[in-house]
């Protein structure tokens, strides 16, 4: 029997094969920067590469791969591509599964560990806070818990960024539609005030956040960030080379209390960078916890 019936049936048109050069670029970006673009984001990544290729005047992905690896511009070009990859990612409630995991699983564990210490106080650090959406989101989440799990507790959120202008913008606490696109009506009404076309973060949210400029390469200041329960550092480590990244991670490790958590950006990994932090899986999210370096029994 010949499969004539089957051949007559309509099938979905297959997707175009991803260019092997694109896969090479994806793997290079992961290896060097620690941020992974899964298969369903490859189309988007191809667009971003094309944008860069136009700027550079190169015609093929093979040539572009050379720009990222061989040519003298390789470091600058990698930064430019990373900028394209992470562009427009800053907004309130950026990664909801991560925030849910933080609130439902991580926070109760932190509270349990912290309760053994003298002061009922939490200290969080938004380490690459950009224009402030992330630390304000954290402030709102903790305020939501202030009548529940955090009743009787105080908390502070340290928010730092390398960019002075971003910090100035963050302090204003005024945001347009794009930044606030994920804000639900509940949060909008409770924690924002409408002024003209913008939404302003209410003073009680701002009161828990202190902004300052910080360069991760400033070892003295990095060492000063002590006693933290949680560090959130999204899409900042990707810009560091391996050695610098290891140094920053060592600081983070020292900055955190023994029960502390480190959250990175979506699809960001510390693989090959740190053996001290251990990857843990939370529902639709990952985080790093402090753990003793250990040998697994064979």
């Amino acid at each position: 029997m010949i499969d004539s019936t089957a051949s007559a049936m309509k099938v979905d048109s297959a997707q175009a094969a991803p260019d092997p050069q694109l896969i090479r670029i994806r793997d290079l970006v992961y290896q060097v920067a620690g941020i992974f673009q899964p298969d369903n984001k490859l189309r988007l990544m191809a667009d971003r590469c094309e944008k860069r290729m136009k700027v550079l005047g190169v015609a093929t992905l093979r040539e572009y791969y050379e720009c990222l690896t061989i040519k003298p511009i390789r470091q600058a070009e990698l930064l430019a591509l990373l900028n394209e990859i992470t562009i427009g990612e800053t907004c309130f409630f950026r990664n909801q599964p991560q925030l849910d995991a933080l609130r439902n699983i991580v926070l109760p564990q932190i509270i349990e560990a912290r309760a053994k210490l003298p002061l009922p106080h939490l200290r969080l650090w938004s380490a690459a806070c950009s224009t402030g959406e992330e630390p304000y989101t954290l402030s709102m989440l903790l305020l939501e818990e202030s009548a529940g799990r955090l009743k009787g507790w105080t908390f502070e959120i340290l928010a730092t960024d390398l960019n002075e202008r971003s910090i100035a913008q963050a302090k204003l606490g005024s945001y347009g539609d794009y930044s606030t696109r994920n804000v639900t009506p509940y949060y909008r009404q409770k924690y924002f005030v409408e002024r003209g076309e913008n939404l302003h973060v209410r003073p009680e949210v701002q009161a828990h956040v202190s902004f300052s400029r910080l360069n991760f390469r400033d070892d003295a200041r990095m060492a000063f960030m002590k006693g933290l329960d949680l560090i959130m550092c999204c899409n900042a480590l990707i810009y560091f080379d391996g050695a610098s990244k290891r140094r920053v991670i060592q600081h983070f490790y020292s900055n955190l209390l023994p029960h502390g958590y480190l959250f990175l950006g979506h699809s960001e990994s510390l693989y090959g960078i740190s053996d001290d932090f251990r990857l843990v899986h939370l529902p639709s999210a990952t985080a790093y916890v402090k753990g003793e370096k250990r040998t697994v029994a064979r």
Partner: protein
Amino acid sequence: MAEEPKEILRKRLGGLEQMPSIPVALAPLLRYLEQPLDRLEMQQVVDLISQDKSLAAQCLHMANSPLFGRWQEVDSIRGAVLALGMQRMRDIAISCSVLKLTPSGQTCLDPTVFWEHSMGCAVVSRRFAKRIGFANPEKAYLAGLLHDLGILVNLWILPKEFTAAFELARTRGIPLHEAELSTLGLTHGDSGRMLAEQWQLTPDLIDVIALHHGVMDGTAHGGLLALVSLSDLLCRMGGLGHGLVEERQIDFLDQPAFALLLKECPSLQTFDWARLTFEMEGYIDEVHRLVALLYRPQ
């Protein structure tokens, strides 16, 4: 324990009268494809698949999915066998056949979600197997696909009791097998074993179906069992579960399955769990698309 004693449930399960027999097209295919690859004739495989029109159409949909590594359109079963090879077609044909096992009518667990989890686990198991140099990645696919067969049994034979377990898992945010154990006194591993034995599946598949939530019990096929157990957990934590959120934190290095698999695959010691997690997130959309195409509720 529940309203009914465990023994009565076991008796009802033991009969399996209400359970469908192995799908018509599946039995001869499985029998034929169990032979060594070099003894298989392509035309025979094409004929076996083409005997069932709907099966043939479903196989073509799958054969054209990037999940099976096919990026250029195939429009006949013969073309698909040629392009993908006998083993892949075997996986595809079996995947399509088992879709027919879903009970009709309203069930607490949406069958579409169930098949998304099964197919997701199959794809992740195969990927994981390849990454760690596991001996038989295609067997890993099949084992991943069938690992939760017992859930189907529970849906058919114990619908009321299973609904109670499902609700318990949902409201408490605990794994389904734990809820089954406290509600039914048995898990889908126990009921899956009964059906798998009745179908005379191979011993390694029976072990995976029966023991993927208790890997220390199974030693004969420990590697495959551990591999599917970890893939299942990764899917459940990563948004390809049973539509339930397990409110917990997982360190894969602490899982008994990890230690078991490490014995067979030493490269697991330095495995990049983050990357596999991100890769899995990239499969989710395609798994949803494919199951929506293939699965039509009765």
